[in-house]
Amino acid sequence: MTLHPILAALRKHKAGVVLIAMQIALTLAIVCNAVFIIGQRIERVNRPTGLDESNLFLVTQQWVGAPGEDVPGGVDKLDAMQLEDLAALRQLPDVVSVAPINSMPLLDSSWNGAIATKPGDTQFRGKSVTRTTYYFSDEQVLPTLGVRLVAGRAFNAGDVVHQGFRDQRDPDIAILTKALADKLFPDGAVGKAVYLNGGNKPVTVIGVVERMQVPYAGGGDEVAWNSTLIPARLNANFARYAVRTKPGRLDDVMRAVMPALYKVNPMRVLDDDSVRSFGEIRDKAYRADLGMAILMGVVCLILLCVTAAGIVGLTSFWVGQRHRQIGVRRALGARKIDILHYFQIENLLIAGTGVVIGVLLAVGLNQWLMSHYEMTRIPVLYVLTGVLAMLAIGQAAVFVPARRASNVPPVVATRAV
């Protein structure tokens, strides 16, 4: 079949053709970018934290009427209260281990600073300084969180000190994540010295853990794994405890925590938000991302439906309009399949023009989004998939009216309108 008659017929419907091609182009541009955004969000949500996330929960609690950190002996008193709590939690049935910790991955509460290979360096230039999050905990932190040690050694009980929450003294030793260690010391970090926050005191790296995400869920990959573990209990009028339970015992232990802590000391604030499983923390951290992904997904789906319905509607009109001409063609010897092909090729031409414009629009929109929002270049695969999907939707949408057209009997040609 030659294209000539199809093109000649399309020229008669200029406005309609332009509109449907434009609709396909816009749909392609929007859907490609939206799906790309959805993909990025899902990728972010699926990033592993480096923790063994099951059977893990966090207790956040606050004492009422606790001594201040600045009164004499206040820090020691606060530490004694914290140790009492830890002992009570460690004695609960089905508890594997408990560690005091100032924050958790995805918790959105963090203590951040600069870590350098040279003293007094805080300038974020070159490879010798980078940003890091500090986690303060004790010797049970690795088994409790389920973080894997890949080099050096873990903290032991003798390493752990305690200090006021606002006390900014530098520690003697630290454990880094592999991402951070590789950035600072490409040829092995264990035994080397780092300097924190522009300080001059060397802090010895004693171990490297495989992976541990920072508390801020939205960070890009370049900062998301920069964590430093410090062997210290922080003392303030509040404390957080990470608790690992035996498999399947999470809910029971979570229920037992409040009464156990109240028994130790009733002068504290514990509410529904105080005991949260890591699953809840993860859900909360990524709720906005998931919501956005779902919303965009729904809009894309409706958009594709509207466009498909538009193609069906428009082609149906054209079929109705050309009823008689189709009859004439059939009477002159065209087979059903020829009529079907005619409409299918016509749609392919329109949709083809649409997707070419659509690809340009999609790339343009992506450029604009990149200049205004945190966005990367859209991979060719997304655009290519979008193009194929659009063409397939066009063909699927045109099939029903085209088949109706192919069913027009030749006898129509002989009837007056």
Binding site: A34, Q62, E69, Q123, R166, G291, G313
Partner: protein
Amino acid sequence: MFGYYLDLALRSLRRNKALTVLMVLAIALGIGASMTTLTVLHVLSGDPLPGRSDTLYYPQIDPRDDSGQMPGEEPPEQVTLIDGLNLLHAKRADRQALMTGGYVPVQSDSAVVDPFYVEARFTTADFFPMFGAPFRYGRGWNAFDDETRARDVVINGELNGRLFGGADSVGRTLRIADTRFRIVGVLDDWAPNPHFYDLNTGSFGRTEQVFVPLQTAMGLKLERHGSNDCWGKGAGGVGRIYPGESCVWLQFWVQLDSAAKVAAYEQFLVHYSQEQKALGRFVRPPNVRLRNVMQWLAHEKVVPDDVRLQTGLAFGFLLVCLVNTIGLMLAKFMRRAADLGVRRALGASKRSLFAQLLVESGVVGIVGGVGGLLLAGLGLWAVRQRPSSYAALAHLDGSMLLVTFALALGSTLVAGMLPAWRACQVPPALQLKSN
């Protein structure tokens, strides 16, 4: 004629039911989605204090040392305690207030309620008149109370309801962290959104329940809550409850009633920086900013990027829906070219054909618009069920309702005008001849 055209339009729309439903639904979905997202955007980028915000300014100065200095760098987003108190005592603006957030345990004097923690604001006397905070009972404290560290407190209506059953509690006692405070005022419902005066404690849906004089709070070492940013090695040190001298952790706001005063205040900030540099406290050359509320909110980008993206997406969606409707409408009208040709041949003017077709597309647009409004209501209801901090604020107000109607009407006209205009270009004779 209009009644007749309406009748014709309804007949024509009934003839292709599926198509009519598709067109109406497309417009309704497009408008519903755009209005939902636009309303959220409108709420989030709204003016927290209409009528007042253009006289409220947020001075920024740069007390940092010279490490990590970059050309054209913004000054810190908050002030140090020393600078805050200096600027406060200079009284160069019509009104000024220094503040920071807090988190304190409170208990009523009857002590029947266990202590609980509430958000607090430690601030100075001008806070209330400057921000126009309305009082239900009593009033704020004055500058003298600030300096004498009076144990005065202003509470909000919510806390008053919780502790005192909503009665006039002025003169009664509130225990904050085991210290007795005298209640001097009770605020009416007041929660500026965004929470412009301190964006560190959350931008939306936040409000403090107690307001304590700043120096009283600091004297009692009440726990503060907010962000601090330090340089050098000044982050506090052993036994310090508040950030040290080389930390910014307070917000300072001024009221400047005229453009001349704004210019003069900016000059004053430059002079202040020079003076502090001469004294050796500041190291960098003067680097000041003076933004009003809306400029400050824009600078801080309080509207989440996701909300902007959603709005863009929704308008793209509306555009596709409109193109879709135009295409379908056009095909439909062109199909009726023969009827129209007959009408033309019988003497109808182009104008009356145009009117007839416009009525038909108008019906689709209006029904779609009404549907869109309903969908927007549903969409906003769905937004309110979501757990984001601004969820509760998502309501359609008068102005957004107007915008919705304008959008619906505009979309209809665009979607109806082009096909109608195109269809009435039909030459009468040609159509008659072909049959």
